[in-house]
């Protein structure tokens, strides 16, 4: 079985993003970018499937700017076999919407015919939490989102999902789109020898036109603003003072 993992290049989770003064956008110039943390978990899961003999090949795909090459190289260094970069934007500030990403991924999947797609549950920049579900709909495949456990058994997979009430297990028909949550695994770091080896692995470059997909956005970004700031910072000296402050504020 082949596994396909879409990976997105996003602002590093340790960086606090700033909104540009003119409210047109956030400022991504010269900030550290990394692989979306959920996608690291998806790549790790794919590698574990391969190590367990349940998968033969791992193909990683990114849609975005040319620099997403680095993200794909990271996935290759972790243990993916081959990469496809779909260059769909020139500027790091141009993000491609999940619907367009899903359409491109669908075309790639029609060619590659993977048995499973492992995607992140959400990208930590735009937090849409949508691409995997949209892809599954376009393919007419089963979907299992927010996975904290994936057990593949022949033509089915049993997936445990993190939901509002706790956990839910469902059994999905393969091929399936699975989106991964935080507790699925702990991704490995790439070792130096593997980083070197990854440089020689195959990375194909494509464009949305190769797949006949129109990536023009459906949502127009009107403006980006700073959220309302909170005025915090008052310290109390003791539990007694805390209790009296809370009483004063009518909180208890």
């Amino acid at each position: 079985m082949k596994v396909l993992v879409p990976v997105k290049r996003v602002i590093d989770y340790n960086v606090k993003v700033r909104v540009k003064a003119d409210g047109s956008d956030v400022d991504l110039a010269n900030v550290k970018m990394s692989m979306n943390p959920f996608d690291e978990i998806a790549v790790e899961e794919a590698i574990r499937l391969k190590e367990a003999g349940k998968a033969e090949e791992i193909v990683v795909v990114s849609v975005g700017v040319k620099q997403a090459q680095e993200t794909l190289r990271t996935a290759l260094a972790m243990g993916a076999d081959r990469a496809i970069l779909v260059v769909a934007a020139k500027d790091v500030h141009t993000d491609i919407e999940p619907l367009a990403v899903a359409k491109i991924l669908k075309s790639i999947i029609d060619e590659e015919k993977p048995g499973i797609v492992l995607a992140g549950k959400q990208a930590i920049d735009n937090d849409m939490n949508a691409t995997g579900q949209m892809l599954s709909a376009l393919l007419g495949w089963s979907q299992a989102t927010f996975a904290s456990k994936v057990e593949i058994d022949g033509n089915h997979a049993v997936v445990t999902r993190e939901v509002d009430g706790g956990l839910q297990a469902i059994k999905v028909k393969m091929p399936a789109v699975v989106t991964v949550d935080l507790r699925l695994n702990e991704p490995r770091y790439a070792s130096l020898p593997n980083i070197m080896k990854a440089k020689k692995k195959h990375l194909d470059e494509k464009t949305p036109e190769d797949y006949g997909v129109d990536v023009s956005p459906r949502l127009e970004v009107v403006s980006i603003a700073e959220p309302k700031a909170r005025k915090g910072g008052e310290m109390v000296d003791s539990v007694d003072m805390l209790v009296s402050k809370l009483k004063e504020a009518g909180a208890i």
Binding site: I11, K16, V17, V19, V26, Q122, I124, D125, N126, D127, M128, N129, A130, G132, Q133, M134, L135, S136, A137, G140, W141, S142, Q143, S148, R161, E162, V163, D164, G165, G166, L167, Q168, A169, I170, K171, K173, D181, L182, R183, R218, L219, E220, V221, V222, S223, I224, A225, E226, R230, G232, G233, E234, M235, V236, S238, V239, V243, L246, A249, A251
Partner: protein, 308 residues
């Protein structure tokens, strides 16, 4: 303009608070028709009909709609979509599972986690862990939207909408339910509670997390946790508050042994009053706390429980 709103129905019961908050958000967009779908949904439909400002309720009962599997639920919504300009839901894990699928089937974008409605096409939503607020205008014919419930007040309970029973759509039979692992609790539900007490890595162990729960019970609060506390096994996954967990905005949020990472703040910084207890005076949580107490939680929390 007409809005179809997917009600939050769990095991036949309406989640009134989440649904009524989404009704408040949706009514600015047009007449609201609420869809209650499930293996049993009639009682939920009756409850939904009592939400103020609901024009009509549709009840779809079918075994295939039990457990809110994405494929049959999305197929049902898509079959109804022609009559509506907007298809909405509260941004619960169920809706986040279903609505993007609906959007893709309709060849439109989904607009997730909307925190404000500007007009029928224009919406505000937090991005980058709440460090920026994006205003987007949709060019799609049908708008598929999920609402972040913590930013809307619940509509009242005094309506009497008409109820119509409808059939399920064709079930693609791609997935089946196996089991739910849901802990029963007498505490209020995290996303609708008036008070939330959360514990972080600083609490140190699952056993010591009982201290957080005791404080919560004293305050009649729901219990939350940081990701670190969940990852370490101190607390179950459904207690996680944050960018990738639940978003809460209670009247009072008490953060104990939580440092205040941006991902955590994203889930609680709209709370009315924030209290932080942390032994590190420099912890970033103090920057957003209305009242900060720099103290060891193992002495401060028992004292607080006693003095409340």
């Amino acid at each position: 303009m007409a809005v179809l709103l997917l009600a939050e129905v769990n095991n036949g019961e309406l989640a009134f608070d989440a649904t009524a908050k989404a009704v408040t958000a949706a009514k600015a967009l047009g007449d609201v028709t609420v869809l209650c779908a499930g293996a049993s949904a009639a009682a939920a439909g009756e409850a939904a009909a009592r939400i103020n400002d609901v024009a009509k309720v549709l009840v779809a009962e079918d075994a295939s709609l039990g457990h809110r599997l994405a494929e049959p639920t999305a197929a049902l919504i898509t079959s109804l979509a022609g009559d509506f300009s907007h298809i909405c839901a509260p941004a619960t894990t169920d809706a986040k599972n279903i609505m993007p699928r609906v959007a893709a089937l309709l060849d439109v974008m989904v607009i997730s986690d909307v925190s404000g409605v500007v007009d029928a096409d224009t919406f505000e939503r937090p991005i980058y862990a709440g460090n920026a607020v994006q205003t987007v205008r949709s060019k799609d014919v049908t708008k598929v939207v999920t609402f972040r419930t913590s930013t809307f007040d619940a509509a009242g309970d005094g309506g009497s909408a008409s109820i119509e029973t409808i059939g399920a759509a064709h079930n693609p039979e791609l997935s089946e339910w196996v089991e739910d692992k849901v802990a029963e609790s007498d505490r209020p539900e995290l996303t609708s509670a008036g008070v939330v007490v959360s514990g972080g890595r600083g609490v140190g162990s699952k056993d010591d997390f009982a201290l957080i729960e005791r404080l919560a019970d004293k305050l009649g609060a729901a219990v939350g946790a940081s990701r670190a506390a969940v990852d370490s096994g101190f607390a179950p996954n459904d207690w996680q508050v944050g960018q990738t967990g639940k978003v809460v905005a209670p009247d009072l949020y008490v953060a104990v042994g939580i440092s205040g990472a941006i991902q955590h703040l994203a889930g609680m910084k709209d709370s009315k009053i924030i209290v932080a207890i942390n032994k590190d005076e420099e912890a970033p949580i103090f920057q957003v706390a209305d009242f900060g107490l720099a103290a060891d939680l193992f002495s401060a929390v028992p004292e607080l429980i006693e003095k409340l």
